[in-house]
Symmetry: C2
Subunit: 217 residues, 2 copies
């Protein structure tokens, strides 16, 4: 599968490396095709790098790993047409740390970044996923509670969510029973706003590696 990753930071690099290891062709997309990060990553991983537009055009499936405050601009730079009929896994969070800790959301409450991306790309199957978990755990959830931690996904296209679930299970060893489909993309409000809570936990415990297990009766 050809996979395009928007964003050449540590999240995009980690997901990309995991996918290359599993035999996929991966292109890391940056605003600037001469991104030092992306060039080094591509050399190390025997993979490709390019502009946002090149990565989107190359891909069958895309990951949005840009900074949340910049994601909509990144998608516009990539060209909306390059996303048509594809699955876009939105990993970003619209978090703003500029006013101190705890941070705030730039989009939230009765809206979400996931929804805004879906509005911008009506012919794309946007699936919100992996945004509630640290990048090291994204590709290795077994580090926590023997992998018995929950991952929350949402999106409007049922088939796309099944595809993403299979990808998470197969590529990154998520337990199928721990992938919780919350419903339509509007539930991205829930998982994005959970970042406020997860950052409170990080401030308390000094680790980003927190995971949630839901119990119910």
């Amino acid at each position: 599968m050809n996979i395009g990753i928007l964003g050449s930071g540590i999240v995009g690099q980690t997901l990309g490396s995991g996918l290359v290891t599993n035999g996929h062709k991966v292109m890391l997309g940056s605003r600037d095709a001469a991104s030092t990060n992306a060039i080094k990553w591509a050399e190390t991983n025997d993979a490709q790098h390019g502009t946002f537009s090149e990565a989107a055009a190359f891909a069958d499936v895309l990951f949005n790993c840009t900074m949340g405050a910049f994601s909509l601009e990144a998608i516009k730079l990539a060209g909306e047409g390059n996303f048509r009929n594809k699955i876009l896994i939105d990993v970003a969070n619209p978090i703003d740390f500029s006013r101190g800790m705890p941070p705030r959301l730039t989009i939230g409450n009765d809206n979400s970044l996931g929804e805004e991306i879906q509005k911008l790309l009506p012919e794309t199957k946007v699936v919100k996923a992996l945004n509630t978990i640290n990048y090291e755990l994204m590709v290795n959830p077994g580090q926590l509670n023997n992998g018995h931690i929950d991952l929350f996904i949402c999106g409007n296209d049922e088939a796309a969510k099944i595809t993403v679930t299979e990808l998470l299970v197969k590529e990154f060893a998520w337990k199928r029973e721990c992938i919780v489909d919350l419903g339509e993309i509007k539930h991205a409000r829930s998982t994005e706003s959970m970042l406020l809570f997860l950052i409170s936990l990080t401030m308390k415990y000094g680790t980003f590696k927190n995971g949630i297990k839901i119990h119910r009766c």
Copy 2:
């Protein structure tokens, strides 16, 4: 201990009944002293009822169990002076269901109801607690995962948080190691916004009885 509860709905009634059972004197406060709910509850539980003001004046420790959108008004009706030097355990969430599901927060992101109450009552020790859990679980957490679910508290007064922790452990059988002090009252932003997520879970599973266990490494 004399305990005053603001709000005579099911949350206030449930906490009140638990505290009466354990030998405390409890007064349930309502906007209207002739509240049918409160009168019936007081008769059934051999306890007291009164106005918000009477309940606040009566109490050594208070619980705010009013609807979040109404909490600040309820406290003003109770008279700010009646809260001076007391602990107020804020159980409310500023949730607005009027625009459909999922709901929205009337206060959120870079502010919270807990913080607004602390600002209104600067001489009161406000501790946010129990707002992330269904009322039946508040007084009986053992129903879920043998009681191994986490409860998140926050507030500016360290001694008050210790008192509240002891109360939760002793009165409602919360496990001490599951009570997570997130820090200052500003972390109420985290636990109140978590309601968006908890309501998504309720919409999915059809039960309000959801609990969270955090794992970390």
